[in-house]
């Protein structure tokens, strides 16, 4: 009765194959089958944003995707983009500014914020707020999170300017 499928996908740069129950959502699969517990579950309705990951380069709610749908995809989680160093500066700013308290939202928040810090233009505080408005944080006042994202982006832009061949 338990329908399962074999899937193969790229997870944080590594090829993974696994048999999954088709009814299991991707967040549960990542957390409980693969032990990648950095992806959190806050609502299983797609509202809170705690389970945000990246699928084929775009942020996505892992509670609103079946694990079986990851077949053939490139999936990145907080563990992957932490290990690669992609958001090291953003994480540093989060720590420096205490932009995380209980930090249950933080992995999802960072996955969402990662979209913003790769750009070539400054982003207003309002636009930052809009961009992260699908990620619920109950502890902070969002202020420090906006500060951290803004500061990371500004530092990157400044370093791009001083180092024009860099990007």
């Amino acid at each position: 009765m338990q329908n399962t499928r074999e899937i193969a996908f790229t997870l944080n740069g590594e090829e993974v194959s696994h048999r999954v129950p088709v009814r299991q959502h991707l967040a549960d699969f990542l957390r409980h089958e693969l032990g990648l517990t950095g992806t959190h579950i806050g609502c299983e309705q797609g509202v809170c944003g705690a389970c945000t990951i990246r699928v084929n380069g775009r942020s996505a709610r892992s509670c609103l995707m079946l694990a079986v749908q990851a077949d053939g995809c490139v999936v990145e989680t907080i563990e992957g983009i932490s290990q690669s160093g992609e958001i090291a500066d953003l994480q540093h700013e989060f720590i420096q500014r205490n932009a995380a308290q209980c930090a249950f939202c933080t992995p999802g928040m960072l996955m969402t914020a990662a979209d913003l810090i790769g750009g070539k233009e400054p982003v207003s505080r309002d636009a930052i707020r809009d961009h992260i408005s699908g990620n619920y944080c109950r502890c902070t006042g969002y202020h420090a999170i906006v500060d951290a994202i803004e500061s990371t982006l500004n530092k990157r832009l400044a370093s791009d300017k001083s180092n024009p061949h860099h990007g």
């Binding site: 509670c63 609103l64 699908g134």
Partner: protein, 296 residues
């Protein structure tokens, strides 16, 4: 909560998907972006026998321009619409509605076809399609048929799509250069479904003198009030041929109150929603009037 048991087929062609639909009938559910369906499954609000995943079907997504129309594949993601230059240029109403559709991660997965098929009465895209007189292409094993958006939405989460059909393409006439539009929704948080929303398009007849400009065409659609997007045909009929001024706006608001019959929910009583709809109508008309220069 965790989803109930079901089977899953990743369809690789439209024919395969349509064949499965024929086979399973109402026991099958199509999953496109899955941004609403997955939530209903996670809440155990439905238990389909099989999910037919159409994400791998080639040729169902993308925005194309023809001489008169814009053709949008049903599998086109909200984010593609948001970023599309074609949409910005030729479908400005949709371009102004898209930032109101959910949040970035949802837009990355959610599809226009899914949103239209879901037919949430407070969603933006169904209202825009009705306002823009879009047509929907429905495919089944027995071929294709075309349904006007204005006929497609039949009620709460209910459309003219039959169990054996898939919505495959949305065709929307290009916005004429002189065409005007207005979109606004009232909600308490960005990205939420609207308490009340309004989408409208208008065209202006040029008089000999600029002050004589009048409305040649007008389509106002209210959403979030009734069980489907409400086209204010009577209200619009009343306004066409007039130039917009304080008096016509007052009269139009009265017409709206006769024409719109909102249902209460936790976001507001029926009278509150009716009031908010008149506020949006007034704002839309004032904006149009400013665009055509009849009111400063």
């Amino acid at each position: 909560m965790k989803a109930p048991l079901f089977d899953y087929v990743n369809a690789t062609s439209l024919d395969q998907a349509l064949g499965l639909l024929d086979q399973y009938g109402e026991e099958a559910r199509i999953i496109a972006g899955g941004q609403s369906l997955m939530a209903t499954l996670n809440m155990r609000l439905s238990q389909p026998q099989v999910l037919i995943d159409i994400n791998s079907i080639q040729g169902l997504s993308g925005v194309r321009e023809t001489r008169k129309d814009i053709r949008i594949g049903a599998l086109t993601r909200h984010m593609e619409l948001l970023e599309s230059d074609i949409v910005k240029e030729h479908l400005p109403l949709i371009a102004s509605a898209m930032p109101h559709v959910a949040h970035v991660a949802i837009r990355n997965r959610g599809t226009i076809g899914g949103s239209l098929s879901m037919a949430d009465p407070a969603a933006e895209l169904p209202a825009c399609c009705v306002a823009l007189d879009a047509t929907f292409e429905l495919s089944s094993r027995s071929g294709q048929r075309v349904v006007k958006a204005r006929d497609f939405f039949s009620g709460l989460y209910t459309t003219e799509r039959q169990d054996n059909e898939i919505l495959t393409q949305i065709t929307i006439p290009k916005c004429a250069p002189q065409q005007l539009h207005y979109f606004e929704e009232i909600n308490r948080r960005q990205g939420d479904f609207a308490i009340v929303g309004l989408a409208c398009t208008a065209a202006v007849k040029k008089g000999l003198m600029s002050s004589k400009r009048s409305l040649k065409a007008l389509d106002v659609v209210i959403f979030g009030c009734e069980d489907k997007p409400t086209r204010l045909a009577q209200t619009c009929l009343h306004l066409i041929g007039t130039s917009i001024d304080k008096n016509t706006i007052t009269a139009a608001k009265q017409k709206l109150e006769q024409e719109l019959n909102p249902t209460a929910n936790l976001e507001g009583r029926a009278d509150t929603k009716l009031h908010l709809a008149t506020v949006l109508l007034e704002r839309a008309l004032l904006s149009l009037a400013r665009d055509i220069g009849t009111i400063d």
